[in-house]
Symmetry: D2
Subunit: 344 residues, 4 copies
């Protein structure tokens, strides 16, 4: 921790900071410049109360040196983590390092028949993990909120039958136990990225957690949320970039492609992209998925829906099954350029 003093502060202020640092069990190291004094606090940074130092008289700013997350940090774990999904009632799938992952399925599980039909399509197209929403976070209380446990049962059956591990969102601490009975992977949505009680609860389970980035979260905030899960003992966290909120209004969210190399530099955790929610409309999904893989992501999560003769496709962002299949072909080629492979 570095403490920068304001210009021309009295010696008493400097002494006060030094004594606080020593009281916290660290050593203080002074650098007197032409205009200012800078104090280094040497020792375990976790021991230092940055906020307290900030409030001392004459302190201009306090600059932390070490990352505030440990288990998520690449300093803690130098190699890429490889996370396993499924492996109980379905074959296991891997993500991280050389292993690329394709998760696909409908946004929401509307009925049994539709789920099976889409699941077969995405499996043929190349997905190896099946997604589907049972509990849906909706900005309006008047929108459809999901079918709950009934949807979880169908998803489990469908995954088992097709040999695909399943992934579904959990929104509330009270649902964790129920969802845990069915799912192979928990999804934490963007709006719950800092629902710390929920992070702790899924951190106590032994299922991998797909952690979406919050709409206003920096990469550092995101890794701190991952740390909540990791600190409970669950080391299977997969990051998922799905766009941040910016002023650009031609799309719903701005997919922050730079977060991929940044998160991979700072952390060993696998990271995938969700181009469907970022774009919010299907004609941009392919470009964003390819960009994500080319930036170094370990996979994609994509919404797919078929288009029956008698009805229009639901969901402006869902790809048609045939579009998904040809996108997967492109994604395989890109992944290969990076020495990464999707299972087939």
């Amino acid at each position: 921790m570095i403490i920068v003093m304001a210009a021309n502060v009295p010696q008493a202020s400097v002494d006060r900071v030094v004594s606080e640092i020593e009281r916290m069990g660290c050593k203080a190291h002074l650098s007197r410049g032409t205009f200012r004094t800078v104090i280094g606090a040497i020792g375990e940074e976790g021991a230092i109360d940055q906020h307290r130092l900030t409030t001392l008289d004459g302190v201009e700013k306090v600059v932390p040196i070490m990352t505030p997350y440990k288990l998520a940090s690449r300093e803690f774990h130098e190699e890429d983590s490889v996370v396993q999904i499924g492996g109980r009632s379905t074959p296991r799938q891997l993500v991280g390092g050389k292993h690329a992952l394709s998760i696909a399925g409908p946004c929401t599980i509307e009925n049994r028949e539709m789920l099976w039909r889409i699941a077969r399509h995405v499996k043929e197209g190349g997905a190896t993990v099946l997604r589907g929403g049972a509990f849906k976070p909706r900005t309006s209380p008047y929108s459809f909120q999901g079918l709950g446990e009934q949807a979880l049962q169908w998803l489990r059956e469908c995954g088992d039958e097709l040999g695909m591990p399943i992934c579904t969102e959990v929104m509330d601490t009270r649902q964790v136990e129920l969802v845990n009975q069915y799912t192979d992977m928990f999804q934490i949505g963007a709006r719950n990225m800092q629902n710390f009680d929920l992070l702790r609860e899924v951190g106590k389970t032994d299922k991998p957690v797909l952690l979406k980035r919050g709409l206003a979260a920096t990469v550092k905030d995101w890794l701190l949320s991952a740390e909540y899960v990791l600190s409970q003992g669950n080391r299977a966290v997969i990051l998922c970039e799905r766009g941040i909120k910016t002023f650009e209004d031609s799309i719903r969210f701005t997919m922050d492609i730079t977060s991929i190399p940044v998160a991979r530099k700072l952390s060993h955790l696998p990271i995938i992209v969700d181009p469907s929610h970022a774009a919010g409309r299907r004609d941009y999904v392919g470009a964003l998925a390819c960009a994500g893989m080319a930036a170094g992501a370990h996979g994609t999560m994509i919404e797919v829906h078929y288009c029956p003769a008698e009805a229009q496709c639901d969901g402006p962002q869902a790809l048609l099954p045939e579009t998904f299949a040809s996108l997967m072909t492109q994604l395989r080629l890109i992944a290969k350029l990076y020495g990464r492979e999707f299972p087939n």
Copy 2:
């Protein structure tokens, strides 16, 4: 709902949109322009599935006409709402319309003695509702997370003794019942503004809800979150502006002062400002509090902490009791210019 068709689409696409609108129970009204056809869907807008229309062939964009929230809307309730806080074991306090509200207290309840001391200070300074954190949302799992029920007990006792209704944050659906036994008002933090299950739970209680704006939430998103509470039957929602996330890095959050006249135009709900969390440092708290009142807010929530001889003040954003008292004097004068009054 207005549906704008792309340039030069075939008549079949137009017909398709018309028949979908009619299937949803509405009437379609065509405007054929020089280049494009625009279709108005006339009827109950809630009946129309905007997403479905968006995905139809040839549709360029769909523009909703009506606000997606009803109970929060000023169209629904023309007069300013006045919300009552307390009135059971303490005198009641009002906020909204002519009634200005001052909530103050420590960020976190650290111990009994400190709470009483700060509470007496803020009461003298002019606050009429006492705040204090028992459960704390912390971005790092390694930071202090609050004292829980013990802190709630102290807060209740302290409020009763001093005759101040109390307000405290609830973070998890599982805590609602417990917190409800103690508090006079629930606070929903910015990071939980779209924790929809939590909104529903506090919406089932009969206590007012202080709803902070999310860091990436538009005013419309915020009012939709208020709608979640209101739609459960609880009509006592108070909005609280506490800053949004922007690129400006000299402060923690950018207090969006414009949200005050915007929310007041769109909604009848009272709105207050929290300059402490927006600024993140005490030297800007006064300016932001005054700006909030001058923009038309119905009050403030401010963190206060004393500064004992033996220790530095905690919390870089907490005001000293004497600073708080003189700020309240200024705020009373500003409120008066708007025909609004803080009690005594």
Copy 3:
């Protein structure tokens, strides 16, 4: 300047940084922590090439200690600057410290009669500097671009007749000489805040410069742009907050009220607010103007337009003369609470 080395770097990397710092004429001061070494570069910070240090092997980050602007800094000039406008063919007006300023007038000068009429209205309402656009920055090349020199002549005549100094925007280095023949104050628009050649040209004149904040500029960027003007010898710069670009879409720009106390802390320059361009619609202009003054601004710039019987008012953001006059009454009362005064 503080240089933080990565964890576990070899001694050679540290030595290399030290020798570079010494080569730049500064002294290096080492702090060896448990995990990292931190190096302070002591001496004239301007002498240090931060970018070069950033690229050296083993350097994790470089933290500047001193502000990169000098003439704009409050460290350089402790008291509030008071800037004088006019005083040649019109009475002079002051802004800064105790002196509040009200600039008002039409957005664009459309014709002579309209200018005179609005000018009389704003003078009666309490404005002391007259604004009006002769060269207009328009996002579309197909929009009206202003009347140029003809408009400048009218503005000069009108200001002289009514005894009001005038202010008008300059957009291009080639216009500076022409505009300088007419105006009492140059306005630099938000989109030109980093048009460095233009800043230098107005910095060579002896007229005050009203510098609007750029849509994506931090307060630090803004003060650096002020430094461009100041460094040419022109010490009469007035900052003008007019909103930044954020995700909020209910208004055009988000007026960043916090920039007022921040800029006043960092700099001695006067700062005013332009609520008209921030809001983009007249019903929010009053709330933003009041909030700006309550946050500590030294004045306002507001667009006004009358509403003749035969036509609708132009400009969705222009106030009617009578609304402007009653807003000025409110602003005077707020200014008084801060010991600041608008002239008569």
Copy 4:
């Protein structure tokens, strides 16, 4: 243009809007819904003054239907434009459609020897257009501002000798004539994207214009700036995405990858990416360049600098020549997946 009236407005307000629309030479088309009336203005949208309609009594909002740019729009020009660079004293290079472009070189031209050396490196690495700064926009007035005409002369000689067209930034209308004597392509920097006089001046030349996106510009704003150039008769505009300003602080700017498919959908103009300025540090440049090509860009502009034995590399964002060369190999492979080719 669609005009949405507020709920329950009197018939007189509707009549007034209708008569205004007719006065502007268009036809009005009414849709009366259950709660509101919506009016379509049918005719040439350019004829309608949207601002005036917005200010009429009872108007809630005005929704434009047509794009405000014409020459930049894909509706105007369905096929991808192919722009030619050079072809006078150097071989010509193409960009757009199937033609990918690689621009590379130093950030700033510091001296003759360094320019030749880097130019040879980038040519070997696969670049076909040489960039280099003669006039530099610097946020601080105390930073190096470029060598001006001397640098232009060297750049011209170097390009001619190596057979590479050259590209350099122009910052001021007064420089256009001078720069035009030397360069094959003008670069307009992000901070000048809305310097409308400058856009007009380069629009009067017959050289292609590389138009960087502004830090706070939407894709629509960007295309309107392109329209300024195009409307002067110069149809050779190349868009360049270089990152927007967001809250994320681990990098300088957030490269908005989605702008590539969005701009390509809306416009026929070629679009390239500048990962060097977006990232601000070399370790992320490769990932962003690849992501850009995978999202559908027509090329890249990358800063390169060698690292002589006796000195450290300048510029934290410049790639080493060997890194650039191997990145080009990767970019060729990605381009090929999209049927696009870099010349060799």
